[in-house]
Symmetry: C2
Subunit: 385 residues, 2 copies
């Protein structure tokens, strides 16, 4: 049987055809008016994508580079930071902080849950010296989501406490109103909702963050955002940009705009996520994040008696579909289906049908078609004609 | 909602990624050793694809050009021919014959059925002057298939009666053992099972046909196969070949080989066709060709009370999937889902799930998921692990 290779991983996600086409274009030089125009259009598009009129920077790095850039520019070594840790990527904030000698405090949630804004407010009340809170919009390791709007209300009320959000897999899949909510720094990666290959990170810089960046004493060179803010205001990156990726970024942002803008992309992911959750429930596959779930991806446990490893392996070997396994303490225990980015209903219905076949082959007892019926029903409920 | 553009039409079919890549390569000149090697490899691959060691020619034309080339080279004006007409493409054989002044006899089947070999034998007995029989392997307008092996037994027994098979949409989707069965001429198009764009036609020439070609008195120039047989034996086309398409042809044939050869491709189409028929039955959509169905495509009537036009339109507008409507006397009455070419189980399950949603929206009463359950069950029955 033919099996096409399909990625259902929460990054990288399938490339948009306009991206693929742009990546294949001839290279051009970056110190030219032609490229400066591409760069400026891309930044304008990113501002619309993140709903901010403040600065957004383009870095030649993957998401973790963007996280590091955000952290080292808003803190100085020895300063206090609060990491909200709800999974593997929350731990990454703490690890970067420790690598640079920050005084890291952690507020931990059980994996599959989110840290609550109230708890965060109490932690800040207890330690007013905390200069920044670090959190994920979507915690990709569990599918849980943080309430960024409520967290921003907490930090906005504290003049010396910034909110830095890793929205690498969340932006474009869940609501994020950067400026209106008062989020100081947002980090985004290219290989997620924007349907680009990895290689670019985007960092938004609000007014409060901008002041911090000027005063930070962290050692930094490639990720020195003072330099980037100055250069990118003039339409250039401080160092050589990833030229083809930026050409593709402009194409990806144009495709998002043409499809109805970031809100349409968020609605798309929410619909696919809702369909997947309903199918999982009908098939008896427990959600990893039943209460605090986001819409960037759905993380599921295997039904009782089955191993997720066998399910993930069969989806790949029999149908060519790659879904993600677990990370950190959930390694080997869960599987994760992506919704962020360039997926449509036909994609999700197709992979859910093959999941049914795989579950049946592995001995799970259920009526074939039951998960599909639930997913189709949910699609009809959410999408009106 | 995002909706990806997907073709489920029985030609053009989705391009194989290796084809897409090859089509984008720099052009090269055709009167070079480099291109002669590509051409020779392509012909070798086509011989494996059609299961013959006799000549196979590559023409820069779409399928109808291949049909015309086949017909005018094996007959002379005024000669008697028998067209087995089971639909729109069967009528095309008769039309080409009349355009060149052949004495055309037709043996017609009801649309949705095939012409039987017995009936064909009787027609040849009644008129021993018939010099060639023309037929479709897969009649794309109805999804019916002819029994080519049995028809070849009939024509092989008659020294002066050739069998010319339009396998444009059938080759690579249904068994076709050109040389062993004794089929004199087979015509294939590129935009079908080989997952290429339109633009190439392939014509196999058996020994009996070769003799005819030398003696035909039909007016012909571009499609003069005497010239092509001579040129292509030397690794070149007589006129300028469609160079990029031939580069892509080599890639497509290599992809077929890598995936297990033509038999694997046929098994793939048969499985997808079986799944679709079972889903249709479960959903109450009558088959256009319930008895003589082939596996290149499935043609379906709408369930009682619905119009296929509305279904076809909704699949396109709501989900981006293009399925074919009816042709000729079935125009507006049926819809056709392709299985030939680069499709996998996930594709078919996805489009069948969206078909369920569309049927539900249009008021058809059935349990959602029922068609999917039937398709999944059939997949499990046919494909062992």
């Amino acid at each position: 049987m033919i099996h096409k290779q399909r990625l259902f991983t929460p990054g990288p996600t399938p490339l948009h055809p306009a991206v693929q086409e742009a990546m294949g274009k001839p290279i051009l030089h970056h110190r030219t008016d032609e490229f400066r125009a591409v760069f400026a259009q891309s930044i304008a598009g990113l501002k619309a994508f993140l709903k901010t009129s403040e600065d957004v920077l383009i870095l030649a790095a993957s998401g973790t580079g963007g996280m590091e850039a955000a952290l080292v520019n808003v803190l100085s070594p020895g300063e206090r930071m609060l990491a909200l840790v709800a999974g593997n990527f929350g731990e990454r904030w703490a690890s970067i902080g420790r690598a640079y000698g920050m005084a890291v405090q952690e507020l931990r949630a059980k994996w599959g849950e989110a840290v609550s804004p109230d708890e965060t407010a109490r932690a800040l009340d207890a330690d007013p010296g905390i200069r920044a809170v670090f959190v994920q919009l979507s915690e990709s390791s569990t599918g849980a989501a943080h309430d960024i709007q409520a967290l921003a209300r907490v930090t906005r009320a504290r003049p010396d406490t910034l909110l830095v959000v890793d929205a690498i897999s969340g932006a474009g899949a869940m609501p994020l109103d950067t400026q209106a909510w008062g989020v100081d720094v947002v980090v985004v990666g290219s290989q997620k909702a924007l349907a680009l290959p990895p290689g670019l990170a985007f960092v938004s810089v609000g007014a409060r963050a901008r002041a911090r960046i000027e005063s930070s004493k962290s050692p930094r060179f490639y990720f020195d955002l003072r330099r980037e803010l100055k250069a990118q205001a003039g339409g250039e990156a401080a160092f050589t940009p990833a030229i083809s990726n930026v050409l593709a970024l402009r194409a990806a942002l144009a495709a998002v705009e043409a499809a109805g803008g970031v809100d349409a992309l968020v609605h798309n992911a929410a619909t696919l996520a809702g369909m997947t959750r309903k199918a999982a429930e009908a098939l008896g596959l427990p959600l990893v994040a039943p209460r605090d779930h986001g819409d960037a991806l759905t993380a599921l446990y295997a039904p009782p008696g089955l191993e997720t490893g066998a399910i993930v392996k069969a989806l790949k070997s029999e149908f060519g579909s790659t879904v993600a396994g677990g990370q950190g303490e959930l390694k080997g225990k869960i599987m994760r289906f992506a919704h962020l980015g360039y997926y449509d209903a036909t994609d999700i219905l197709g992979v859910l049908a093959t999941l049914e076949i795989v579950l049946r082959r592995l001995g799970h007892r259920f009526d074939l078609g039951r998960g599909l019926a639930a997913a189709e029903e949910e699609y009809v409920r959410r999408v009106s004609r």
